[in-house]
């Protein structure tokens, strides 16, 4: 009962905005090309979601259900985010661990990192096309850069803030260097590292949309730019809503994973 009440409370403003928007559209206050009614957007979203053709003979039900444009685009974007993120974070994590644990390595790499870090991933677009041409590779490259720095900076900070008392206790138990790294420093740094992962995924998701506007011919970013060329503003908005939902889904998944991995952490509410 309480939950229903809370939900109704939270839905009040969005529903009012939709009603107002719909009413204005129906009253002809703005052109349907510039600003379509929410009902038109919803209809377009539904059509965008459904498979374009009837199920063919011999085609599996699942393959048919996923043959719609929207699901294909969402899948393509998600694939790029994950692949790019794995590349970026996969490079940032070991480098961050080394830089955090060893002051010499830190001094060696830090100046370069500080010069590169303020360059937004978007600024790499011309270079990405020059180096990698068209298709997925430039996207992976841009997303990897977007994910790299948040993970790197947080990993360094995470390793540096490890409480000395854990190191002393571990040395007292006879722990060697490798075990110290894998079973004490790394887990002690995970709250920071995972915070970096969450920011990194968020950045990766911004970059994927931009990167799809330049070099590929599917994905949510490509689709809304394509829709603009045909003046399909209902499809643009439907695509934007899909981007929002996918972003929310990714962030929820990462946050769930964090809660599971950090279930030991004191600062966490269940």
């Amino acid at each position: 009962m309480r939950k229903i009440k809370d939900f109704a409370h939270g839905a009040l403003v969005p529903v009012l905005v939709l009603i107002l928007w719909e009413a204005c559209s129906r009253a002809g206050l703005f052109s349907a090309v510039v600003m379509p009614a929410p009902s038109a957007v919803a209809a377009k979203w539904w059509a965008y979601l459904l498979p374009a053709q009837a199920q063919e003979a011999g085609q599996s039900w699942l393959a048919w259900a996923f043959s719609g444009e929207l699901l294909h685009d969402a899948y393509s974007s998600l694939y790029r985010v994950i692949a790019g993120f794995i590349i970026g974070a996969g490079l940032a994590l070991p480098l961050g661990l080394l830089m955090g644990a060893n002051t010499r390595i830190y001094a060696l790499f830090n100046p370069l990192m500080q010069i590169l870090r303020p360059i937004p991933p978007i600024a790499y677009i011309p270079l990405a096309i020059l180096w990698f041409g068209l298709g997925n590779p430039p996207s992976f490259f841009l997303i990897a850069i977007g994910a790299f720095f948040p993970v790197l900076m947080n990993t360094i900070a995470g390793v540096r803030q490890v409480d000395g008392i854990y190191l002393r206790a571990a040395r007292n138990l006879g722990v060697g260097q490798w075990t110290m790294f894998t079973r004490v420093i790394l887990p002690a740094a995970t709250p920071y590292i995972l915070a970096g992962v969450r920011i990194g995924i968020g950045t990766a998701f911004i970059v994927v949309i931009v990167s799809e506007m330049i070099a590929v011919n599917d994905g949510l970013g490509f689709r809304i730019l394509e829709a603009r060329e045909f003046m399909w503003s209902d499809k643009i908005i439907a695509g934007m809503i899909t981007i929002g939902l996918l972003g929310l889904a990714i962030d929820t998944a990462v946050s769930r994973l964090n809660n599971h991995l950090l279930r030991w952490h004191r600062g966490l509410e269940h």
Partner: protein
């Protein structure tokens, strides 16, 4: 059989911007196997510095500490330490914390499981084996820390004000547990405290230390049979006597702080 701890003419000087601080000076002590020794004194008397030197965290500036005919140079599992801050690994469950030292030694899984179960029993932690430290009270955490050190099966146990952060009742409870375990397992215990009552309640022998430089002010044997009654006349006589010694040093500590504050 285990060997005594020989503390041989140990000095420790800390270099600070304000000049050298002599934390330990001319410390000579022999701690016999199975002996329960308390280091007693006010803050700044070097009792923790001495314990850290025995643990191998900080080498003495001069002199040496010898166990089993070897001078101590680094920390090791033959001298398990219990910290005031518990220092449990928060990402490991109770059982994993206790098992960790054995895993480091590459003991077999079955053997580790056996030891862990014994220790969970011994310290009444059975119902908490899969909890994380954050879900435990201070007293429970310190039980786990003691179990973690006992798992190493080292002959020597070092304790740095282990019950300092606990409330009085939990503290008495854990003191009794510690005595029970000590009598059962025959460990050598070197125990740092600033509580006079705690030292009399626990120790075979109390080493009272002076404020800077840290030296041995009194090496006191406690002959009372256990369990000791803190309300008994003998207990209180000793408490009064040690209280006088410790408060002299506490006064020097307070004076030094006042002088420092005046300079600022």
């Amino acid at each position: 059989m285990s060997s005594p701890i020989l503390i041989d003419n140990v000095q420790k000087v800390f270099k600070t911007p304000g000049g050298d601080v002599v934390a330990l000076k001319d410390i000579n002590l022999t701690i016999q196997p199975g002996e329960f020794v308390c280091l007693l004194g006010p803050s700044g008397c070097g009792k923790s510095t001495l314990l850290n030197a025995v643990a191998g965290f900080q080498a003495p500036s001069d002199g040496q500490i010898v166990i089993d005919q070897k001078a101590i140079r680094s920390p090791g599992p033959d001298r398990g330490m219990v910290f005031q801050e518990y220092a449990l690994f928060p990402w490991m469950s109770v059982a994993q914390n206790i098992a960790f030292g054995l895993e480091v030694q590459k003991k077999e899984k079955a053997e580790i499981g056996l030891v862990v179960n014994q220790l969970l029993d011994l310290l009444h932690l059975k119902d908490f084996r899969d909890r994380f430290p954050k879900d435990l009270s201070g007293g429970m955490r310190q039980r786990v820390a003691i179990a973690r050190v006992l798992a190493l099966d080292s002959p020597i146990m070092l304790m740095d004000e282990p019950f300092g952060a606990l409330d009085a009742l939990t503290r008495r409870n854990l003191q009794d547990e510690l005595l029970r375990i000590w009598e059962k397992l025959g460990k050598t215990i070197l125990f740092v405290t600033h509580s006079i009552e705690e030292s009399i309640y626990l120790a075979d022998r109390i080493v009272v230390m002076t404020y800077r430089p840290g030296t041995v002010k009194r090496d006191q044997i406690v002959a009372m049979p256990r369990p000791r009654d803190p309300a008994s006349p003998a207990f209180n006589d000793l408490k009064r006597e040690l209280g006088r010694l410790v408060m002299e040093e506490q006064q020097r500590h307070a004076d030094a702080e006042m002088k420092l504050a005046a300079v600022d």
